[in-house]
Amino acid sequence: MKKAFLLLADGTLFEGTACGYEGKSIGEVVFNTGMAGYQEVLTDPSYYGQIVTMTYPLIGNYGINFEDYESHKSWVSGFIMREMCQYPSNWRCKNTLDDYLKSQKVVGLQGIDTRRLTRILRNSGVMNGIIYTEGYEPTEQDITEMKNYIVKDAVSTVTCEQPSICKAEGETKYHVALLDFGVKYNIERELQARGCEVTILPGNTNPDEIINGGYDGVMLTNGPGDPAENTQIIKNIKALVESNIPMFGICLGHQLMALAIGAKTKKMRFGHRGVNHPVKDLQIDRTYITSQNHGYAVVAESVNPEIATVRYVNLNDGSVEGLDYINHPVFTVQFHPEVCPGPQDTSFLFDRFLSNIENGGNK
């Protein structure tokens, strides 16, 4: 078996065995604490530019199937596991994880102490790294590049090039414009299931096109990278807000909306990536378990209380998890109500979006 390695920016070297694609790849090393859902993680565009390590030790147990992709390809820059399953078992399994990683050219590393890696990331914060297979040892230049790496042009890389349309399930009740910043399929599926015809638009689509496009509402999706780098999109969203069209933002969509009204975002130490994050709805004093994947957050103090109310907060660290906009039919959440992977407890937010469309105002 070939060896593979992870070299972190601080010089720490992990040695394990190679899996997936052979080669080398630079990225931001992050950890995900979900115990299942690796197929969704691999295909979630929000992981663009990141080398993902799973904290659960046994990955690949149920293989890869054809239904649980969250986009058409894998976006991660590398994938790290403690033990990759060679003999998956599940009735829908069509492929092994190993073969999938190979097909997606994702460099894999297994057999390392993933808990030790997680503890390093927890203590020092997200760190850059380079993952490489034996025979692809990094050069001095690679290491310099790795140390200076930042996830750039993330949205423009993952967004669609051309608009496309997803038909509603059953009768079409509404037309929703979806601004694709790196959309997960399940956002589309949730809307379709509720009778929406969804037009998927490139992330930088001109707002007038949307305002005049006959849409009932706008969906701002999740996506990768530093939200603040998307200056044009932020301006576009500002225009959309002023048009008073009902909008629902998730994750990056939530951050971009906040930036559009003048709030600030900041990079978190190691982010939230997992399916067990408690989020409290301050309005009704209820806490939900949510799926999360973000490395940036909206700064609470930067939100003008006359424009938006912090409705959802993270129970563990108090960070902003959702905003209700006061004068516009707009609400956004940092977590992922569309899940995949993760708990389905907050899927009612899609109903709320539809209710805003149907009734106007912010229900």
């Binding site: 604490t33 859902g37 399953c85 997680t118 927890r122 067990n276 004093d285 378990i289 708990p343």
Partner: protein, 1065 residues
Amino acid sequence: MPLRSDIKKVMVLGSGPIVIGQAAEFDYAGTQACRALREEGLEVVLVNSNPATIMTDKAMADKVYIEPMTIEAVKEIIKKERPDSLLPNLGGQTGLNLAMELCEEGFLDEMGVKLLGANPTTIAKAEDRQMFKDTMEKIGEPVIASKVVHTVEDAVSFTEEIGLPVIIRPAYTLGGTGGGIAYTWEELREIAASGILHSRVDEILVEKCITGWKEVEYEVMRDGKGNAITICNMENVDPVGVHTGDSVVVAPSQTLCDKEYQMLRTSALNIITELGIEGGCNVQFALHPTSFEYAVIEVNPRVSRSSALASKATGYPIAKVTAKIAVGYGLDEIMNAVTGKTYACFEPTIDYIVAKFPRWPFDKFVYADNSLGTQMKATGEVMAIAPSFEQAMMKSVRGAEIKLDSLVMPRLQKLSDDEIKAKVAKTNDERLFVICEAFRRDIMTIEEVFEITKIDTWFLHGFMNIVNMEKELAACETLTEDIYLRAKKLGFLDKTIEQMSGKQIGSLKRLPVYKTVDTCAAEFDAETPYYYSTFDDETEVKQSDGRKKVLVLGSGPIRIGQGIEFDYCSVHSVWALKELGCETVIINNNPETVSTDFDTADRLYFEPLTPEDVEGVINAEKPDAAIVQFGGQTAINLAQHVEKLGVPILGTPAWSIDAAEDREKFDVILEKCGIPRPKGDTVMTEDEAVEVADRLGYPVLVRPSYVLGGQGMEIAFSEDDVREFMKVITRNKVENPVLVDKYMMGREIEVDAICDGDDILIPGIMEHFERAGVHSGDSISIYPSINIEQKHKDTIIKYTESLAKNLAVLGLVNIQFVLYNDEIYVIEVNPRSSRTVPYISKVTGVPMVDLATRCMFGEKLKDMGYGTGLYPESDYYAVKVPVFSFQKLRDLDTQLGPEMKSTGEVLGVSKSFKEALYKGLVGAGYKMQKKTGAVVLSVRPADKQEAVSIASRFEALGYELYATSGTANTFNRHMVATNMVYNASEPDKHPNILDMIQDGVVDYVVSTSAKGRHPERASVKIRRAAVEHSIPCLTAIDTANALLSCLESGMKIENCEMIDINTIR
């Protein structure tokens, strides 16, 4: 929501005696809950008949009632204490059923007692089969095609609709008592009849059999605000068809993708929400292996065995949080004590795999039916934590203390390939090992085994990996570091690696490092040092703080003979050590216990109790000393090893433990002390045993040495008996000699004492109600003794003192004596804690473990305030009555003998002996009301004379007597009118004793026999029939006497004083 202001005084119901299906997990849950409530400043009134528990300790509740867990007793206590609320969901099915009955009767309303954590509608919706089905249908949750019936005929006609096979599940029972899978019409009739009988409401569910589906459980939690979370899910390695308590279980699920995981999670939360449960709850699902179809099997609206497992598997304290929710808190207001910085309102995520392995009693009960089905048979379980499935399996198997270090079961090696293949289809305690044997011989593929067993191939690949490593080791030319490390990561012990490879490990040897169980996969820094071993580079063991560090070895899984008592002792020792300023480290692998709670010891190692695993911990912690005398035989067996590793044993030295077990060394000591014992000798073979028995004269006692609970011990009346017993004992490899002793049928006396090296303190002398021959754990035991003359007490004190000193006892010692022909003989000395320590501590008020621990630190008894010699006898009598789980174990003879059979015990406490005995018997489940008024007797010749008096006393009470021919003749000759019935050996002749029992027209059965054990014997059939029809069956004349004296007294619980044990000392 903060603490409710209308709650000031809470009654907590425990789960009563340990039985199969309801074990120490409820002591763990109850203890955690009591502490959580008292933390809130609430007054706690505890009711539990089980004296071996930590929850019945003085410090756990303000008022502690060790009284029968019956509706009458609880009512009396409520009347006396007037609590404002009742917490019913921590005491297992026993606590829940009692609360339901009290509520249904309107008694709680009448007394103004609020039911916390659940309401009767909720409980009924979860527990009543039809209401449950209706509720599930209402919220669109699928259930299996089923029907509730009350008669066998209805069961048959419904089965005609849905087809065989069907599962029969009795309503309101624990561990599925009386249920089973029926594949034929005959089985259907039989199981349905038994199920109806065992149900509290004569009700069974007939259900479409979905054997072979995946079985997945979710532990969920909900608060009064409606916040609902999952603590963890678990997947059974054995598919649907084997009770989850008898299944190998892993956490989290391994073969479910996120969609399946979330589908079932959402369903579980919908269910807990619809039921309105506030607190912990367990939902069991069957998941179709090749579709998204699923069905809800069962909901337990309370904490359970699974929730204890989930707590230990994740670090999330389910019982504590349940208690906090019950008194008003929201999940978002309760801190996560493990991280100290997050809240209880989150879902634990783990970065290891947990395996649970059941501990079955078939090593002791060799004739009991060892097949596994819907009725639970395991007495306990172990849990193992590891980064891989293989390592977790290997750890759990060696931790189960079933004489296996790996998945190789030596006795299967003798079988032919065909026999092995045939055995794969047999669902029993050996199956996993049979599968591995089939893989080892290459006679079956993974697919073939899957076809037969429906065990998911993912798990089978795991077993295959282990077998492949065995082969690789056997084939390796040299043992390389690569092979060695891979074997270690698959969970192989060094000694197994050496044995399989035939090579020395030498300098390759690696000791494990330790990782933390932190509820959050390292996302947050954990406060609690709760560790498990891995073979990695980084260890997380925290620096010590400089206090003297003491290692306490726990007692492993609960089994017959080594129960919860030893956990009680281990925990108390940890507490005493903390008081003494020591840092405490505990090693144990039993998820059901208080000792493995994250905040009992300063450091917890969840590891098997084997020499190598203990060595790893010692290397990591470098303790200053170790204590072994509280962890039962498990810990004792490790004493010499720990000492060899350079860790001094506190208290009684290892040589003394050995001397007490070793016949020759012990004889020398006895001779020196001038103490007589029954004559005997040690043997290694069957022929030697017969020779010794002939020399001593029959009857003789045959038993293996170095075991607990009289394992394998039998009274032999003939050469045939000796040969039969020796065959059983030598079924597994004999490492230690077998003892053959002259059997003396006298009065048995037991003493637990503390010795500080100079003085002894005997808190109490206990007398056994049954004559010698019935194992002390199975005897009714009385404190203070009632039939022992002062001169004998003096002798006992003298002998105890002399033995303790000559064995260099420092700490606890347990001695059993027999009073025979006016002389005291020593039967057995155990220089360690014993089964009776918790109960004697409680009734005398002498904190025995605490004192014993202090003695080990050089303190002297005369300075401790409890005096020396025999402690003044209490004004109260305490009668310990054993409780059995015979209903769960088919074909097991219920006749009491020298081998222990009970799983638990209850205590009756009163100022009068008779009342204490009465309470004890009632608490143990003896029914005292005359129903049919018929008693059936069948006794062995030796008992016939004494049985006459038993019979005449029953007659005097107005009972109609029935007896088999010999017994009936004797009675009639003695003018006790008795009806003759045919024996079970003549099933075609009527009236037959079996018919009477099966027809349920009998109140009591008295059955003794010279020969037993084998299920084909007539007397065994009689006793089994009685058990299966829930008719009290008395197998010793003395026990029958005890029962009669209670019946004659006409006592009622309503007239007994309910005693708060905290006030009697």
